[in-house]
Amino acid sequence: MDALIPLFVAIPLISAFLIMLLSKVIKGFHRFFAPIALLCLLVMAIFEYANLGQSSIQYAVGGWSIENGYPIGIFMVLDGFSVIMLSIINLIGFIALIYSLSYIRKYTAEGNYYALFCLIIAGMNGVVLSGDLFNLFVFLEVSVIASYALVAFGVGKTELEASFKYQVLGGLASMLILLAIGLIYWKTKTLNIADVRSVMESGYSKPFYIFVQVLLISGFGLKAAIIPFHAWLPDAHSSAPSPISAMLSGVLIKAVGVYVLIRLFFNLFVFSHEIAVVITALGAISMLIGALVALMQWDLKRMLAYSSISQIGYVVMAFGMGMILIVRGDHLPVAALAIGGGLYHLVNHAVFKGLLFLNAGALEHRLDTRDLKKMGGLSSVMPITSSTSFMASMSISGIPPFNGFFSKLFIIIAAINGKFYLLAALAVGVSIVTLAYFLKFQRFAFFNKSSDPSLNHIKEVPFSMSFSMVFLALLCLALSLLAIPSVNEALLQPAIDVLMQSDLYSTTLLGL
């Protein structure tokens, strides 16, 4: 249904400003209106996912269709890859919003929080739906500026410092991206992604495009927090309020970092071997260093933030391996397996990292601390938090039958079949290190006998928070069904096709 596509951006924008307007007049309006708006978006996203199949829908905003072969309007494109990202964004957004219904009561100015939350969702929906480069930049800026405000929401010393660091680095990244967009416009005189691809196929100068690709890797690498661009992430994700940490780490670095990188490198630029090697190397290094530094952390949310860097390294490495195999031209089924594993790990990481940050928020809500050394023995007094965090830790470490095991298995099998033996060994090693620090988290938070007697009086978290955590934990189990080949083909295959046959994007969209 293509009339629904602009509503993904219009509904959260309108609800954000309605909340700003009416929350001072009607008490509790925001607490009632924002979940309804996000539930509408979630239902629409699942409806689009179910109806899409193999095709891709193109929506011409303002009615400006293609004249004489030049796409002169703004297009919003919904294809297999976008619809997966759309579902994750709206699902994790809705769950984090339900969680924050009771978490945000500690802070003042609740109306502003819900308005900014809707703006982040609007920006991310716009990024995954946009079909041309400048629209993508504008929506990226909308969501990122809203996230700067949300990181600094509880205005303490550490939050403000973390937000300032995040803003300076994020501003630098946005400028590099704008420069790259300007240079692409200079050479191809168009901004539409499909049109740039068709102009590039008729001839391009390689050093210039390598320069543009390096600028884009730097810019979007800063947004996606790959090593060496990761310096803002531990501070920002550990100082933000917990539902915002779950949104940032679970969807924002994927929707405005990894998604755009993959979309541009697979569907806009013609593949080149050097860039593929660079992307794979950056992914492998992030995977390794993120895990090793996370071992040394005693602050719970900082450990989870470094773990995010490590898992995003898995995803980027998997896509990089797919690119190298497609450039080499042989082993194309192995490339499809690598890309499928990367996509599956992307979806999984959103779910279990979101759940882990929500658990950390539950611990912080009751104990007012993030330090692992001050916790202990909580499994008897907080059963829901303890069991859901146990399931999430087993998922992220790759223990069967949870979903993390299957996605990491796909990536490792693809690495071995594509003869990347070093990368496969690194992936297995990092998985063992991940298990190590998550077992440390479980032991110190839940299963140690603590010497502090006041910890025996902690109660369980309120209903809305525990509902979100249980929902995500059940989703962890349900997503492991995606490993079954028939389910895999129905749900992930359209995305893999769009990425593998990289000129399919431009030919279907310009031919329509």
């Binding site: 219009a10 309108i14 001072k24 929506y59 303002g62 009615g63």
Partner: protein, 145 residues
């Protein structure tokens, strides 16, 4: 925040209205000459900010002012969204379609919906910049107490 000297206050009284009118001229002629919503809105906000700087913020009720400008901004954006969604009902049923009659290029009343968009975006930008300024002034007042 204190006001400025008498000369500045007198000149501001004479000039602020002209600046406001100039801002509205740029907003309304956005489809025939350079300018449009953003630039015109910034100039309109500049007129208000000049008045506040010259007369001092002690002459205002700051909380009511910032509430007023914030509400104006929200209402203007909702009108833009309503116009964009109304295009789904009339005309070609596409989001953001230009559904009013277009007229001849070069006239003031032409180009369909674009002058209306310019107007609402101008009000919105003026409200936003004024809200930012008033919020910073309120913050300074609170911290210097």
């Amino acid at each position: 925040m204190e006001g400025m000297s008498t000369i500045v206050k007198k000149i501001t009284q004479l000039v602020a209205g002209l600046i406001f009118m100039y801002g509205i001229y740029i907003i309304m002629h956005g489809h025939i000459s350079p300018g449009g919503g953003f630039a015109g809105g910034a100039i309109v906000a500049g007129a208000f900010i000049l008045l506040i700087l010259a007369f001092g913020s002690s002459a205002l009720n700051l909380k009511k002012e910032v509430g007023g400008s914030s509400n104006t901004e929200s209402v203007a954006i909702l009108m833009v969204a309503v116009l964009a969604l109304m295009a789904l009902i009339f005309g070609a049923k596409v989001f953001l379609f230009n559904f009013l009659p277009k007229g001849t290029p070069g006239e003031l009343l032409s180009a369909g919906v674009i002058p209306l968009y310019n107007l609402f975006i101008g009000i919105e930008v003026a409200g936003a910049i004024l809200t930012i300024f008033l919020a910073l002034v309120i913050f300074k007042e609170e911290s210097s107490k």
